[in-house]
Every structure is written in C-alpha cells, then in structure tokens.
C-alpha cells in the first residue's frame, strides 16, 4: 500500500504559518509572538515522522532565513536541531497527552531561541533573552491550536 502524500496539506499549513508570522504586531507582542513556522515543522515531524524529518526542517529553515532576513543557514541549523529532537521523540510522543506535548514544545522553543542567540553572538548581534519564558509559554499555548489544526488536516486528507 502506497503511503498517503501530504505535500499539499503541508504546503497549505506552511502558507498559513507564513501569513501568521508576517501579520504586523506592535510593542511586547513582537517579542511574545511564537515562531509559527517552527511549530508547524514540529507538528508535521511528530505526526508523520516517516515522511518529514530533519531534511524537511532544514528546507523550511532555509525559507525562514530568507523570510526573517537572517544570514542563510541560521534558521537551517535551529530548525534542523529542533526537528531532530522532535524526530527522535516522535514515537514516544504519540502516546503522550496534549499537556506533555505542549511542555516539549515549551522546551524546544527555548532551546531553539538559545541556539539562535548563540549564533547571533557570532556576528556580535546582542539578543534580548529576558522574554524567553513568555515566548515559550505563548508557543506552548499556540501549540495546542497547531496540534489540533495539523491533526484535523491529516485526518481530512487520509
């Protein structure tokens, strides 16, 4: 039996993530805004690890670099590392509750931000990390919606 091809739903969900990412926000919301692209990548890796893995995360990271106007390779590394952790844990996470998945996302987002800050420091660009826990928290809350969204798309497409 051929595996179901999820290319169209994946592209659609990534387009939704780009749309949300680019939506203008002001003040503190800018710092608390989750990285929707990273959340979407983690979601697809957790749901379909046999089709979407580290390579997929790297390609989306390359697109994120162009979107965020960071040096190409910056988000490739961040997404690939976060994607690798999600991929390694994907088999266990299938049996985990939503709360535990959200907690993993909280940890992954903080890890990703720390890796990003370390990379920025190479170019002598300071990064404010004081908002990190709030960003992790907003990402974990958003994750609940992203998880449901991807689950529904997957179910609909099957």
């Amino acid at each position: 039996m051929n595996p179901v091809n999820y290319i169209i739903p994946v592209i659609f969900s990534l387009m939704v993530a780009v749309f949300l990412q680019l939506m203008p926000s002001t003040g503190s919301w800018l710092l608390w805004k989750p990285n929707f692209l990273l959340l979407m990548v983690i979601a697809w890796i957790l749901y379909i690890p046999n089709q979407y893995g580290i390579g997929f995360a790297s390609v989306v990271g390359l697109f994120a670099d162009a979107l965020f106007r960071t040096p190409l390779g910056h988000y490739v590394l961040v997404f690939a590392l976060c994607g690798a952790i999600a991929y390694l844990l994907s088999r266990w996470l299938t049996y985990f509750s939503m709360f535990h998945r959200a907690f993993l996302v909280f940890v992954l987002v903080i890890f990703g931000e720390l890796v990003g800050a370390a990379l920025f420091s190479i170019w002598d660009i300071p990064k404010n990390l004081s908002h990190l826990h709030i960003l992790g928290f907003t990402s974990a809350i958003t994750w609940v919606l992203v998880d449901r969204f991807v689950a529904r798309i997957q179910l609909h497409h099957r």
């Binding site: 680019l22 002001t26 003040g27 805004k33 979107l67 190409l72 690939a80 660009i125």
Partner: protein, 262 residues
C-alpha cells in the same frame, strides 16, 4: 552546511539573488497579512459617527491654521538663516523634498528592525535614502527592488547615526539596541553638557542623513563606577512600531524619476 551558508552569506554577495527572489515571492504574503489591519482601518473610518468626524474636522482646521501661522514664521527664519549663512560664506543648506510611502510589511524577526515600503527604484528610491514619519527620523533604505524597498530602522542593533543635542550642538553617535523604545549614545564623556530631556537631532555628519531631523529625547544618564563614559539612553521620537505612512527624503540634486507628491 548551515555554517558554510552563514559564512558565505555574511562575507560575500553570492547568495543575494536568493534573497531577492524570496523577497519577491514573500511580497503577496505581506499584502495578505496586512488585510486584517486594512479592514480594521476601513471599519474605523466608515463606522465613525458623523458628529465625531465633524468635531475632528473642526479641530484639524484649527490645527492647520496654527501650523500655517508657524510655517510663515519658519519661512521668515529660514530666509534670515540663509542670508546670515551667505554673509558668513557658509555652505547653503540643502532643501529637502519628500515622497509619501506606506509600510506594507514588517520584519517577523523581533531582533531585526526592518520594514518593507511600497516604493522602489521605479519611484527613484535609492540605497541609503533616509525615511521619516510625522514625529522624526525612522531609518534608511537598505535594499531597493522595482516596486518596493526595505528600510533598516534606527533602533536596529546594527544601526548607528550621528546626532547632536539641539540645545548646544554637542555631537555623539546614537546606536540601536533592538528595542523600539530605546537607543544609546556612544562614547559620551562624563563632562559633556547633556541633560535629561535634551532633544537629539541628526547632525548631518557622514552625509547619509540630512541635518536637523528629530531623533529622540534623552531619558536617562547614568555613570557606572570605573567606566570612562556615561550611559545615555534616548527615547526615539519616531513611532517606529506604529507608523504606517512614512516620508522618503530627497535632497536637492538627487535622482528622482517620478517626482510624485513633492
């Protein structure tokens, strides 16, 4: 691979075509993501009660009258200033003209303070061109495409601009801090005559920014023990995270193929 890409991108221009292509691809997304804001703006304009509009109209008329009066006095002062400069054989001040533009996108990365505007090389926009909002200096153009451009804001951590205190002309360099409400002055001596509340304006040194545009207000001056320089914090005048309509500044002699709205 990631480190190789980062090094190539940071030290060469080989990957800039990729940035250009993606910038064109992403433009429709910028337009789409602005729809909620536009709908909100449209709703605010179209659902405002008639009495409020009339009140606002009356207030604007009054403000316009006051500003026109002030402008007359300004023109007189400008003429007098020009005459005095001519007497001193000093260089004539350049008159600036402006082009109205609108923000169509903001950087999704909170550490990178850039905005995308709806004017490009077709309108005569060039790299290094200063942009303003109604309150003060916002930044400068860093990439120009056919019909849109990307501007780096003065609060970006990689940005610095020469400034001077309006009160006494003390010069310094204002640096961005990746915070929309904070800039810092570099290398300010403890004996410098800078006070809290001082208005900072562009000094025009370096030739990139025209002289005399408001940059910000000094909010705090602190000296840490053992430090040679004082830490001066400046609150930017421009509404960097809010303004939608901006002005591109052209100084006399610079190229302008369109000349719209001058």
């Amino acid at each position: 691979m990631a480190f190789g890409l980062m090094t190539l991108d940071a030290y060469t221009t080989w990957l800039s075509p990729i940035h250009n292509v993606v910038d064109h691809l992403v433009r429709p997304f910028h337009w789409l993501s602005n729809i909620p804001d536009r709908v909100l703006e449209w709703g605010e304009v179209n659902t405002e009660p008639r009495s409020d509009i009339q009140k606002e109209n009356a207030r604007l008329k009054q403000e316009s009258l006051i500003h026109r009066g002030q402008l007359q006095r300004m023109s007189e002062l400008a003429a007098e200033n020009l005459r005095l400069r001519q007497l001193l054989n000093a260089t004539e001040l350049l008159m600036d003209s402006v082009l109205v533009t609108e923000v169509i996108g903001v950087s999704p990365n909170p550490q990178s303070h850039t905005v995308t505007i709806d004017r490009g090389s077709d309108d005569g926009v060039y790299v290094g061109q200063p942009i303003l909002d109604a309150e003060g200096l916002m930044g400068q153009i860093v990439s120009v495409y056919d019909s849109h451009s990307v501007a780096l804001l003065i609060t970006d951590s990689s940005h610095a601009l020469p400034v001077q205190v309006l009160r006494n002309g003390v010069r310094s360099i204002a640096e961005g801090t990746s915070d929309y409400n904070l800039m810092r002055l570099r290398f300010v001596s403890p004996t410098s005559d800078i006070r809290e509340g001082d208005q900072m304006v562009s000094s025009g040194l370096g030739g990139r920014f025209p002289v005399g545009y408001p940059v910000g207000t000094v909010t705090s001056i602190t000296q840490k023990p053992g430090e040679r320089f004082v830490d001066v914090e400046v609150d930017p005048s421009a509404e960097l995270d809010r303004s939608r309509h901006l002005l591109l500044v052209f100084t006399v002699g610079e190229t302008d193929s369109n000349g719209a709205l001058r």
